[in-house]
C-alpha cells in the first residue's frame, strides 16, 4: 500500500541549525492499516507526514503508494490519493468561502468551468447531516463563522469526500476541547471504518494510541524505534509503552504535551 524505503530528510544542511529530521526511515503500511504514531517533540512525526504528503521532497529514499512511485510527485497531485488533517482546524478550510464552496472544491467534480449542481448540494447535505452539527442548514455561510470543532469536522468531510487511498491525521483533535475532540475522534473512527481507509494518525494521547487502530509506531530522532501490532499490542498498557521507549531510545520519554492516561 504505502512503502517508505530508507527515506531521509535533513533541514538546513551544513549550517549550525542542521537537523536530521528523518533518518533512513523504512515503513511498510498494509492496505487497511490504521496506525497510531507517538513520540517526543521533534521526533519527526510531522516531518514524516510532510514527506508522505509531498510538502517537500526527501533527500534520499523512495516512496511508493499503491504501487506507484510518488517520490518526486508534487504535493497537489499526491492530494488526489492522500487526504490530510492538521492540528490547526484553520489549515484545512478556506474561511472566506461558504461551506458549500469549500466542499465543492474538495469534491472537485466536473471540469474547470463546471458549477455547483443541485446533485452536488444534495450530496453535501447528505454528508454533513450525520455530523449532527446542523452544518447542512448553513451551507451558504462562510466557514470563518464556524467554531474550531465544526471546522475540523468539515475538514474531515472534505478530506474524505473522495475516499483517499491514505488518510494522514496529524494530532487533528489536539486543538479542540475534550468533548469536541471526542466527537471528532468518533467521527474519524466511523469514516475510516466505513470507507476501510488506510490511515496514519499522530497523537500525543498514549491511551488512544493503543485503543485506536491496529498498529502503533514509536518515533525518536527521525527513526521508528518501535513497531507493534496484533496480540503483542493488545497486551500493552501505557506504562509498558514508557518502559519500551526507555529501552529503545535509551532515555525517558519527555513530552510536556504527552498525556499518560
Amino acid at each position: 500500500m504505502l512503502e517508505l524505503e530508507r527515506i531521509s530528510k535533513t533541514f538546513n544542511p551544513g549550517t549550525v541549525n542542521e537537523k536530521r529530521a528523518l533518518h533512513e526511515l523504512t515503513l511498510h503500511v498494509k492496505d487497511g492499516d490504521f496506525i497510531s504514531i507517538i513520540g517526543a517533540n521533534g521526533a519527526g512525526k510531522s516531518t514524516l507526514f510532510n514527506a508522505i504528503a509531498g510538502s517537500f521532497f526527501t533527500d534520499s529514499g523512495r516512496i511508493t503508494l499503491g504501487g506507484a512511485d510518488i517520490t518526486l510527485r508534487p504535493e497537489h497531485l499526491r492530494a488526489k490519493e492522500i487526504g490530510r488533517l492538521f492540528q490547526d482546524p484553520m489549515r484545512g478550510t478556506a474561511p472566506g468561502m461558504t461551506i458549500e464552496e469549500n466542499l465543492a472544491l474538495a469534491a472537485g467534480r466536473g471540469g474547470w468551468l463546471s458549477r455547483i449542481t443541485k446533485a452536488d448540494v444534495a450530496l453535501f447535505r447528505e454528508r454533513l447531516a450525520p455530523l449532527g452539527m446542523g452544518l447542512e442548514d448553513r451551507m451558504q455561510q462562510p466557514v470563518g463563522l464556524l467554531s474550531g470543532g465544526q471546522r475540523q469536522a468539515l475538514a474531515l468531510m472534505m478530506a474524505t469526500i473522495n475516499p483517499p487511498k491514505l488518510l494522514l491525521l496529524d494530532e487533528h483533535t489536539a486543538a479542540l476541547d475534550p468533548a469536541t475532540a471526542e466527537k471528532v475522534l468518533a467521527l474519524t473512527r466511523q469514516i475510516v471504518a466505513e470507507g476501510r481507509l488506510t490511515c496514519l494518525m499522530v497523537t500525543h494521547n498514549m491511551q488512544s494510541a493503543l485503543e485506536l487502530g491496529n498498529r502503533t509506531l514509536m518515533m525518536d530522532r527521525g527513526r521508528i524505534i518501535f513497531d507493534v501490532e496484533g496480540e503483542a499490542r493488545s497486551r500493552l498498557s501505557v506504562p509498558d509503552l514508557l518502559v519500551l521507549f526507555r529501552e529503545a531510545a535509551g532515555r525517558n520519554l519527555d513530552n510536556d504535551r504527552m498525556m499518560l492516561s
Binding site: 487526504g83 472544491l105 472537485g108
Partner: protein
Amino acid sequence: MLSILQTALELGLIGSLTVLALFLSYTMLGVCDLSTDGCFTLGAAVGAVVAIAGHPWLSLPAAMCAGVLSGFITALLQTKLGIDSLLAGIIVNTGLYSVNIAVMGGASLLNMNKTATVFTLLKSALAGTRAAGLYKLTAGLIAAALVVLFLSLFLRTRLGLAIHATGDNPDMVRSSSINPDFTTIVGLCLSGSLTALSGCLLAQSQKSVNIDIGSGMVTIALASLLIGRAFAPRGSIPKRALGAVIGAVVFRLVYAVALRLNMPAFMLKLVSSVIVIIAIAGPYLKNRWPELHRRLYHGRERGGEGHA
C-alpha cells in the same frame, strides 16, 4: 454641472474595469498587482496602434491579449521564479515602460483625433437617437455590465472558486489537488486583460495615448475598490463586484465635485493615496483602539495618583 457629472460617470465606468481587475487579483487572489499602471498603459498603447491601423473592433481583443501576456509574466515571476509578488509587479511595471514606448513606435504620445475607434463607431450608430450624446456613457455601461456579469459567472465555476480559495488558504487549494501556481497565473492573466481593456477604452474615449496615462492607476483603482467595499462589504460576488463599480463611479464623482470646489486637477493622485491610507489604516486603528485607549487612560491614572 450636468456635463461634469456625465464625464465623471464615464470615467468611473471605464475605470471600473481596472477596479474589477483588482477585485479579482487583490480581493480574490490576495495579490497586490503593482504592474497595473504599466498594464493599463500597455492596453491603451496596443489598442491605439491597432485602431490607428484601421481595426477599431480588433483593438479591444488585441489590448486584452497584451494584458494577458503582461499578467502572465507577472505571475510567472512570482510563482516559478521565486520573486516576491510586490517586487514582481514593480519589475514588470518598470519593464513595461520601455515596451509601451516601443509599441507606440518610439513616441510617448499617439493621437487618435481622426481615427475610427469603438467610440466613434458607437457615436455614428447612436446618431439621431435620444442617446446620441451619451455614447461614451453607453460604452462604459456595456463594458462594466459585461465584466460584472462575466466575473459573477466565472467566480462560481470550479476555476473561479479555486482562484478565490488561493487568496483565502493556499494549503486548502493544494489539498483539493489544485496547483495554486496555476490559479495565480490564470487569475493574473484575467485581471491583466481587464486592466488593459480599461486602458484601451480610456485612450480611445479621450482620443489620445500618453505614456503616463496609467501612472497612479493602481492607487486610484485601489481607492475605488475600498470605497466600493464600504457599499458592499460582504455578500454574494455579483453584489461585491457591483460595489466595486459603484466605488469607481463614486470616486470620480467626489473628485469631480472637488474640482468644482477649485481643487487643482493635479491633486487627483494625492487624494487617491489618502483614500487608500484611510480605508486600510482606519479599520486597523479601530481594532487597536481599545489598546490605545488603555495606554492613554493608564497614563492619566498614574498622573492623577502623582498629584494626590
